[in-house]
Symmetry: C2
Subunit: 169 residues, 2 copies
C-alpha cells in the first residue's frame, strides 16, 4: 500500500471543513461587531457572476459529502440549501463531518478502480475511475470552494490568515 483512498479523502475533507467552520465563526463575530445583517455576508461575492459565500460553503459541503459517499458506495445525503445564516452553515458542516466520522477505511477498499459517472445522461457525461474522480476532480473542486469562501471573507475584512484556512494537520 502507498496511500489509501480513505486517507486521501476523509481526513482531508474533515480537516478543511472544521477549519472552514472556525473561519465562519470569526466571520459571524466580525459582522456582529459591525451590526451588519448576516445576509450581507452570506450574499457577498468576488465578482457579479460568481456564487456568493453561502453557495461556496454549500458546494464545498456537497463535494465532501458526495465524493466520499460515492467512493464508499453509500447513499448521498441530500441537503436543501436553505441556510439563512452562519450558524446554519456551520450546522451543515458539522453534519457532514459527523458523516465522515462514521466512514471506515474498509468502505473505500477498491474504490480507486470504481467507475464514477459525472453528469449521467447529459451531453457532458463523463466516466472516471474512482482515483481520478477523487484526485483530479473532487479535491480540486472542493478546495476551490473552500478557498473562495475564505477569499470572500478576506476581501470583506474578516481577520483570518492562512493558518485559519489550513486548520489542524
Amino acid at each position: 500500500m502507498s496511500t489509501s483512498m480513505y486517507q486521501a479523502s476523509v481526513p482531508v475533507f474533515r480537516q478543511m471543513l472544521l477549519a472552514l467552520s472556525d473561519v465562519l465563526g470569526k466571520a459571524e463575530a466580525h459582522a456582529a461587531a459591525r451590526n451588519v445583517e448576516p445576509a450581507v455576508l452570506l450574499q457577498s461575492r468576488l465578482a457579479l457572476d460568481m456564487f456568493p459565500l453561502v453557495r461556496q460553503v454549500q458546494i464545498a459541503c456537497d463535494f465532501a459529502n458526495s465524493v466520499t459517499a460515492r467512493l464508499a458506495e453509500i447513499e448521498v445525503t441530500a441537503y436543501d440549501d436553505t441556510e439563512q445564516n452562519i450558524a446554519q452553515l456551520r450546522a451543515r458542516i458539522a453534519n457532514i463531518v459527523a458523516s465522515l466520522d462514521r466512514m471506515t477505511e474498509a468502505q473505500f477498499a477498491g474504490s480507486e478502480s470504481l467507475e464514477v459517472v459525472l453528469r449521467p445522461g447529459t451531453p457532458k457525461e463523463k466516466k472516471l475511475l474512482g482515483r481520478t474522480y477523487l484526485l483530479n476532480y473532487g479535491l480540486p473542486q472542493f478546495f476551490f470552494h473552500v478557498t473562495t469562501a475564505y477569499n470572500v471573507l478576506r476581501h470583506n475584512g474578516v481577520e483570518i490568515g492562512k493558518k485559519d484556512y489550513m486548520g489542524s494537520y
Copy 2:
C-alpha cells in the same frame, strides 16, 4: 496498492498548473485589450494584506516544485521570484511542469512514510509523515494559491470559468 504517492501528487499538480497557465494567458489578453500595463494585473490583490497575483502564482509553483522534490528525495530547484510579466510567470510554470514530467512512480516509492520537517530549526518546526505532508499540507496549500490567483483575475473581470480552473482530467 490503493493509490500511489506519485498519482496523488504529480498528475494533480500538472493538471492544475497547465490550467493556471492557460488562465494567465487569458488574463494577459484581457489586460492587453484594455491597454493596461501587465504590472497592474501582477500587483492586483483581494485584500490589502494578501499577496498579489504574481506571488500567488510563484507560491503555487513553489509548492508543486518542493512537495514533489522532497517526496522524490531530489534537490529542490530554487527560483528567484523575479517575474515581471505574465509570459515570465507562464515560463516558470512550464519549467515546473517539465520537471514533473521527468519524475517517475519509482521515485515516490515509500514516500508515504518519509519524515518531512517543516520550518526546520525554527520554533514552528513540525515533523510530518510524507503522506500527511502531501495530503494535509502540500495539496491544501497548493490549491489555496491556484484558486486565489484565479479569484484575483475573476475579481478583475477576466472572463474565465470553473472549467478553466479545472483544466483537463
